[in-house]
Amino acid sequence: MADQLTRARLGGLGRRLAGAVFVLWAVATVTFFAVRLIPGDPAEAILGGPGSQTSAEALAAVRAEYGLDQPLSLQYLHQLGRLATGDLGRSYALNMDVGPLVLSQLGGTLVLALLSLTVAWLIALLLATWSTGRGRLARQIGSGLEIVAAALPHFWLATTLIVVFSIWWGVLPPISTADARGLVLPVVTLAIPLAGFLGQVMRESLTAALESPFVLSARARGESERGVLWRHALRHAALPAIGLSGWAFGSLISGAVVVETIFARPGLGRTLLNAVTVRDVPVVIGVVMIVALVYILMTVLTDLASRLADPRPMSTGTGAGA
């Protein structure tokens, strides 16, 4: 019985994975052809951009080395073949392979994103449990705080936090250092706006859960208010927010572009921004592919997590994964 249930819940998994492979292929295709729209000669870009006095022989050599002299369709197939084997090509600007470069930057960004996600969850949870069931004023304060938090741009929050905590009070370093103290400001910068988004969803589903029949029956059994909240209502209330984690992760990676730049913290975001600024095409493609891969994995995982955490016997919430 339980086995059957699990199987039913995992039923769509194969299709999800096939969909993920399709999206990855499409992302590779979109980026390949988008990059061909860039005006100018790619061989010149590799040798240092237009204006750098390069000889015709040097250009021809680069074209041959990077396969730029082949027809577009062949280049495309080669690119797909290389991506399938995990080869992301060579950076134009940094004179190193993109694969190892991106992998070396991935860890820092993942740590930053996962810590921020956890902190955002904690803030949202505290705000939601505090502001629910305490009357209209508490609800309005909670909702107001969430709207303001969600509207805070990372770049402004970061500079304001640096001014207050690093320059005025001098308690935290203004640039990211290797120790835990250096992580505080970047994590808080990313977590506060996200907590605003998560909190809105959590408080609303918590309010709905507290009014549902199973909470009434728990109260009738003599459960304490705290027991009702923590043991019954919160599990239901957390579901939609768990489902949001895939999206949240994506927005954190996007926020990391700004935050890593401000706090001078090595990571995917800063690598991406630098590569866009100097038009280092292979690095941009590499970072975008890795982010898409991680993002798709996260959405499949959160989909799985919310299917397994759903207390209802047969998931009626599958529509949310569509």
């Binding site: 741009p153 402004w156 895939g246 926020g255 898409a292």
Partner: protein, 289 residues
């Protein structure tokens, strides 16, 4: 991306507004938001009314002045008045946000309506296409666009518009499907109205009604994103009084002159909060109308 994720990203009130008391009354928040919006729009159209000075007038003797009675928001490295520049920047920032939102909503509406009306095969194709776009989260699609077309204010506007379009497309498609299966459309079908008439007179107007709400909510988000691109040096460039560019210029002097970055950023936040409050208020009123 799920329906909920898209709604949250777009700032739509996921509670459905059912719990909100006082549907007819005007709340304090609404009054403040409306006043703020009026001030911001005045600043954008006629900055001279709020700040008569010249935003580019330099005064080297007054450089790096802290906020005071003569310079409410302080002065920058050339002694230019930050308050005057922030008021003057409202025009660029609001225009960028508005244009990006119009582009995003326009593209989103076209894609959403195409997906919802041209049959299952088209719907399937558009949906897969949108899924691919969702794999470039947040600013990533905008950065890819800027990689191809180069940095600048125009690029930033189109980039932000493009990045927001997939979310809008999903919301509009979902709304269209909801409207299509509602009772009044069924009634029109039973009355024998032509498919075309039902589509243009009944389904489309009701599908596109939330555009006003989405647009109001979206302007705030678009201003934040465009300012982020300017801040990163990929949008409007520093001499311009656009808020993101001003913040970027203030970054160099952050240790000595915090007001150079604080006030332009504060106005981005105020605009975004104001847009959210107004958007939700319109949404609530439309639902109860």
């Amino acid at each position: 991306m799920s329906e909920l994720e898209i709604q949250v990203a777009a700032g739509v009130d996921t509670a459905g507004g059912a719990k909100t008391a006082g549907r007819g009354r005007v709340s304090v928040v609404e009054v403040i938001a409306a006043l703020l919006a009026a001030l911001l729009i005045t600043a954008a159209i006629a900055p001279g009314l709020l700040a008569p000075g010249d935003p580019l007038a330099i005064d080297p003797l007054a450089a790096f002045g802290a906020p005071s009675w003569t310079h409410w928001f302080g002065t920058d490295e050339s002694g230019r008045d930050i308050y005057t520049r922030v008021v003057d920047g409202a025009h660029d920032s609001l225009l960028i946000g508005l244009t990006a939102t119009v582009i995003g909503l326009g593209l989103g509406a076209i894609l959403g309506v195409i997906a919802g009306t041209l049959g299952a095969a088209v719907d399937f194709t558009v949906n897969r296409f949108l899924e691919v776009l969702f794999a470039f989260p947040g600013l990533l699609l905008a950065l890819l666009f800027i990689l191809v077309f180069g940095p600048g204010p125009g690029s930033a506007i189109v980039a932000v518009g493009l990045s927001t379009a997939p979310g809008y497309a999903r919301i509009i498609r979902a709304q269209l499907i909801r409207v299509r299966s509602s009772a009044f459309v069924e009634a029109a079908t039973v009355q024998g109205l032509s498919r075309r008439r039902i589509l243009t007179r009944h389904i489309l107007p009701n599908t596109l009604a939330p555009l006003l709400v989405l647009g109001t909510l979206g302007v705030g988000q678009a201003i934040v994103w465009a300012a982020a691109l300017s801040y990163l040096g990929l949008g409007a460039q520093p001499p311009a009084a656009e808020w993101g560019a001003m913040l970027s210029a203030g970054r160099t002097y952050i240790t000595s002159a915090w007001w150079m970055s604080f006030f332009p950023g504060l106005f981005i936040v105020l605009t975004a909060v104001c847009a959210t409050a107004l958007g939700r208020s319109i949404e609530r009123r439309m639902r109860h109308a």
